[in-house]
Subunit: 138 residues, 3 copies
């Protein structure tokens, strides 16, 4: 049994979904793990992770609209010193995932055919985000 | 230290909660792992996972009503080619879990007394869903 | 490769956020694991887990207000025998996390600078909550 860890950095172009499934698959391939478990951890509270459909991009457009409604920018927040998009970003992060673990079977991530792994950037401006990866298996 | 992986298929009867805790417990027992970690991964983006109360079924009735309100079918979605229940299904999946990991202690899942593990089917029609399992321990 | 498991108990002072990051860090340090994966599992369905900002406490005030809106106490629930705050508690738990896994890198949890791990108590009254921990690594 072996482990591998890595910190990867993703540059986001501001609010929206950033598909980084390929970077995860590369990490698993490079570690030559045939069967195991990959854990993906987002080191931020104003960005988060989501597994979603990678086929029709309009799914992501609709999801963005849903989260804009669930975490509106116009509301009165006690936490408002970091800009009108910061507290909504924390709410969006609370409603989605900070961490995902994906089984590795037959040398590949056991994702479904239409699943992509997304970094969901919640701030308006581009950010550099850090993701911690942990892989265990053999 | 050992691992075991499996793909299981669950037939859902359409929208609602499907308790499959027993299938998970069977998998752990069959692998003869006394201490470890079970990971459950849903390979779909219009169904998801949830740990919820297994005592009073009315909890699930109320939860269904909450998600029907948070992800209404009547809204105007850009993604509407797969039926009026498809985009709401993606929203419900985004707000719940695609993956769960449960410690195994003393040969059993460390679930609380009133916790069940549910596949939450979000589409109206019955579907066959695939769940990837990963178990590590000894 | 080694494992460690533990059940810890947290006394909550009623509804709100309880930062127990230090207890998790202690567990990892005590197990002398330099590289690995910590899994945290909440054994309840009316309390849950959340990684959130640990810098400005007003973030938590705003989050509490958001969940009070998403899971209102005044609504008519089928499940109402355990008090007006019980079904809202299940909804809050469904919308947040029951489980978190955090990579251990260089002997420490790979949390971001401003991330804390919180037990989110959803019931009004203080409760004793059980959290199952699983650590694997070397």
């Amino acid at each position: 049994m072996r482990q591998a860890t890595r910190l990867i950095r993703l540059e986001t172009g501001g609010r929206g979904f950033h598909d980084f499934t390929a970077a995860l698959a590369d990490f698993v391939r490079g570690a030559r793990i045939g069967e195991g478990l990959l854990t993906v951890f987002c080191r931020h509270t104003s960005a988060s992770l989501l597994v979603q459909e990678n086929a029709d991009p309009s799914v992501l457009t609709d999801l963005e609209a849903v989260f804009a409604r669930l975490a509106p920018e116009g509301a009165r927040y006690a936490h408002d010193a970091e800009g009108p998009d910061d507290m909504p970003a924390h709410i969006r992060a609370a409603l989605t995932q900070t961490q995902l673990s994906i089984p590795v079977i037959g040398g590949a991530l056991a994702l479904g055919t239409w699943q992509g792994v997304y970094l969901f950037e919640h701030r308006r401006r581009p950010h550099r985000r850090e993701i911690a990866l942990h892989l265990i298996g053999e």
